[in-house]
Symmetry: C2
Subunit: 395 residues, 2 copies
């Protein structure tokens, strides 16, 4: 018997996608599923962007530049003006989704067995990409009681070793829906300067901040060589399937390293880049409407969650996620049970067990991540479903 590599065994299945077979089975049996497990917005992709793709006149879908289409790099650089980021097109690399930006960033900042400090819970795929690139994640735990706020700088400093190459943040944060303040980021800047580290920030949810203005790390002065930002059109423009992301930095030697990986995979997808180009044309209006909708959903979700007995939650400040602690023995078992054994008015709800977002074993065992990416009516029905389920769940 010819077996696959050992390393593939160590990559855990995605906590967001691992329950999918049970979901397919439930659907086959006629059950309706409220999908709150995945960050797939139900908001329409910008119409003008879809039209641009429909009206393309090229007769050959040919390779583009490895760095991305120049016109797109320019548009993205301009877009960052609103965040006080002084970015030129050469600072922008177009990637195949934020996923590839994460991969290239880890490859170009870290060697095998280098360390990256990341607050947990974190987007589970960081772990997969760290594993793929032989980078060691050093988690710094945040907790629901303190609304997953950023630990003090001294806590980060304690974790710095000779192997540390970067501090990696997601801001606003998936899976917690929290965001970090300018003051907090400034404190981290002092640390990355002191220890000569990269500060990698995944800002894909930056447009959805509901209570305070967002501060991009690209706006800080004097830290050009330290900052790497990861971005994507997936969430902002509801274009997850286009596979267009960005990697932004002003560190030239880092970008030269990225360029080698970019050349290796030839180029990012042509059609997705064309879609992205048009997304920026009517961005302000589109984003404002999407943000308004998510804000209303946040209120709805928070009100509904609060009305369920023994559910611990907080009001998220940003993105479209919330972590809730449920009165269950094991959230993963519960999430599976929702799909296989439960039904209310012909429906059930699919959630992401939060344990998979923690690096430290046994954390988040009773927690779930809820993505508020459905309309309010559906969100309400989904939470009604959850309430009844918690009454009936035997565990």
């Amino acid at each position: 018997m010819l077996l696959p590599s050992e390393r593939a065994k160590d990559i855990g299945a995605s906590p967001i996608r691992s329950l999918l077979p049970h979901a397919y089975e439930a659907k086959k049996n006629g059950k309706h599923i409220f999908h709150l497990n995945i960050g797939q917005p139900d908001i329409a992709t910008p119409t003008n962007a879809l039209e641009r793709v429909a009206n393309l006149k090229e007769s050959i879908v040919s390779y583009g530049p490895s760095e991305g289409l120049p016109a797109l790099r320019t548009k993205v650089a301009e877009y960052y003006d609103k965040f006080d980021a002084d970015i030129d097109q050469e600072n922008v690399y177009v990637t195949t989704g934020a996923s590839e930006a994460i991969l290239f960033t880890l490859l170009a900042t870290c060697d095998n067995h280098d360390e990256v400090i990341i607050p947990e819970p974190f987007y589970a795929n960081y772990l997969g990409f760290a594993h793929l690139t032989n980078v060691n994640i050093v988690p710094i735990t945040t907790d629901l009681e303190s609304k997953f706020s950023l630990p003090a700088p001294s806590e980060f400093e304690k974790l710095v070793t000779s192997k540390t190459k970067a501090i990696f943040l997601c801001n606003p944060t998936n899976p917690t829906g929290q965001m970090y303040t300018a003051a907090q980021l400034e404190e981290l800047m002092a640390i990355v300067k002191k220890y000569n580290l990269y500060l990698i920030v995944d800002e894909v949810y930056r447009e959805f901040c509901y209570d305070h203005a967002f501060t991009s790390v690209l706006s800080f002065k004097g830290v050009d060589e330290h900052v790497v930002v990861i971005d994507s059109i997936s969430k902002v423009f509801s274009s997850c399937g286009a596979r267009v992301g960005y990697l932004i930095s002003k560190n030239e030697s880092f970008l030269q390293a990225v360029n080698k990986y970019a050349q290796l995979r030839l180029c990012p997808p042509y059609f997705g880049q064309q879609l992205a180009l048009a997304c920026y044309d009517e961005a302000d209006k589109y984003i404002a409407e999407a943000k308004e909708e998510y804000m209303l959903r946040r209120e709805e979700l928070y009100a509904q969650l609060n009305s369920i007995p023994n559910v611990k939650c907080y009001k998220p400040m940003a993105a479209f996620y919330n972590i809730a602690e449920l009165p269950v023995d094991d959230a993963e078992k519960f999430c599976k049970w929702l799909l296989t054994d439960f039904e209310y008015k012909g429906s059930t709800v699919m959630l992401a067990p939060a344990n998979g977002f923690y690096f430290t074993k046994n954390l988040g065992k009773q927690q779930v991540r809820i993505a508020y990416i459905l309309n309010r009516e559906d969100l309400k029905s989904a939470m009604e479903c959850l309430k009844v389920a918690l009454e009936q769940y035997p565990g």
Copy 2:
């Protein structure tokens, strides 16, 4: 100064793309360039496929399945019927270009420091992906004198160690334009069975075989667990920018490993998959026409090359590449000189130095890879250019 990773330094710039800055400069100065350096066909993408993309009605460009769209997997499985491959849709993973299929295959077959035997010269990006995945390439040298034919099985066997996990072929071969016979492949099958190895075959050029019928390794019986095939729509359907490739295998545990990496990057690009879906609808006619055109170009190129004094070449059997040995001191210097110092009738020619396709240092120093992806008129002019250049080149 904050430096990038050490590992990025070890990745050589692409021999196909590394001269691009000089090409941009030449173009800026008004020079016309015949691009024979890159496998970017000038043949139009199938019209019905472009129309399919133009007529898509989805309002949300959402995540698709990590494995690829079920309809596309089914079509691809059916397409393989003509190669006597008994493939089901579950055996097909859609990837972001053949590039990603190579990456996933190395990750899912090899652990760090495992070995893969590859005939050289080989597609240079194999080396980059092997480096990225910490896999060691063990080259087996083929040479121009014997038209780059496959070494005897005993030569492969000599290189097998306890670390060997796979034999990796490109068939038909980029950069040599040669192809391997059914008998040769059968002999390698005996070796991979004897030593329990994978046989990975990149078959992206399989539709362009001019002298003999092509044999896919998918048609062999009794080797299901050993065979992995890499494929792509880039060359066959002139759709390089769509970024759609495939990884095909009947080894279930290998595919389960691949699935983890597929989930990690979420999904392949939506628009490219939609384009690919339509490509298979009128494939036979489209491919026959493209093949006919490449065959005529092959004749043209071979005749022209043969007419240049002191150029050593052979008639390629497949794909759209040829390696030629030139009467120059250093092909890389010569290729650069063509862009920076030479001009004939306002034009020059861009070629890929072949040295970058060899793993063993100092091999192929006088060789170039020529991609016959321009129309015959242009090919003729390009070869005229090359002839004059060889007369004038000081080295």
